[in-house]
Symmetry: C2
């Protein structure tokens, strides 16, 4: 049977993710997380040893990218954008992606996580679909998609926030196709 403390740990993690997502690493205080989880600050330390430990535990991410080899190459760019926006807008694991991006800009530990996600999840998926020479172009695709997340969810740049996911996908798909070097049909 699972230890009784699991519920508390989960509550702490949930609160931590929310706080980290809303305020970033530095402005998130253990006291605030503890208050959100209705427990004592010392419990956070007991379970996660340190603030950095809590942070590490809070941003375990698996993009669960599907196999893209079945997707026709022409439809690939559009699929990528839609997949990306979907992960961000209906995230099952809370605001984990938001946490990660927000923190990665000031915290090198988080930045390393982002790099790892690219090399271990994004790049392999694209390589499987398009071949190994695509890696540099895949990195630029990642940069374009991260830029989208940046302007839409973090900076909230009005024209970008006002567009629907579909409008964005339609406009951006040809751009990603160009970046990947896919000739038009």
């Amino acid at each position: 049977m699972p230890p009784r403390s699991d519920r508390t740990k989960a509550a702490i993690l949930r609160a931590a993710r929310e706080r980290f997502a809303a305020n970033g690493y530095e402005r998130t205080t253990i006291r605030a997380v503890a208050a959100d989880a209705n427990i004592d600050p010392s419990m956070v330390i007991r379970y996660f040893a340190t603030k950095e430990g809590l942070f590490d535990a809070a941003l375990t991410i698996d993009l669960r990218l599907p196999d893209l080899t079945a997707v026709p190459v022409v439809e690939l760019p559009g699929t990528l954008v839609r997949l990306f926006l979907e992960r961000w807008e209906s995230d099952p694991s809370g605001d984990t992606l938001l946490v990660l991006l927000r923190s990665a800009v000031t915290n090198d530990r988080a930045a390393e996580r982002v790099r790892a996600i690219f090399t271990r999840q994004v790049a392999p998926t694209l390589v499987a679909a398009l071949g190994p020479q695509v890696v540099p172009r895949a990195a630029l695709v990642a940069s374009q998609l991260l830029g989208l997340a940046l302007t839409r969810y973090l900076l909230r740049l009005p024209p970008v926030t006002q567009m629907t996911a579909d409008e964005i996908a339609e406009t951006l798909a040809p751009a990603l196709a160009a970046t990947l070097g896919l000739a038009e049909a």
Copy 2:
């Protein structure tokens, strides 16, 4: 004649920009800035009233975008990328852009600055060159370029950092053309 304090103020601003760029807003302490500038922490408060005041003063930005109406439309996307990378890699006013982007992710005041730079500097320049209907597409261009800065200078994603500015410009130019809806020649 300029007051004697101008040198001190300038030293404070220089130190502040470096610190803000390296560590972001929260992790930058007035004491550290003062130490870098070889003066007392209280002087910073005297001249800039508050930490936020110092921050505001530290990120006054003018992109000085040239008039792009003279540039042939085919060359416009490449010109944009090159201009952007040049601003970042040989910035006359220090690491101001780095400060801004790094802080804008966690600090809403800084984010507002970024939005203002888009609406008051970037958007008008592109509207002048391509017409008013281009605004939403221009925002997506901005998002792609900011994504480039994000991955190259902040997250330091290896494939992106390893490419030369020219390689990036060549690969990304068709993508921007597609985003802007410019038909190929």
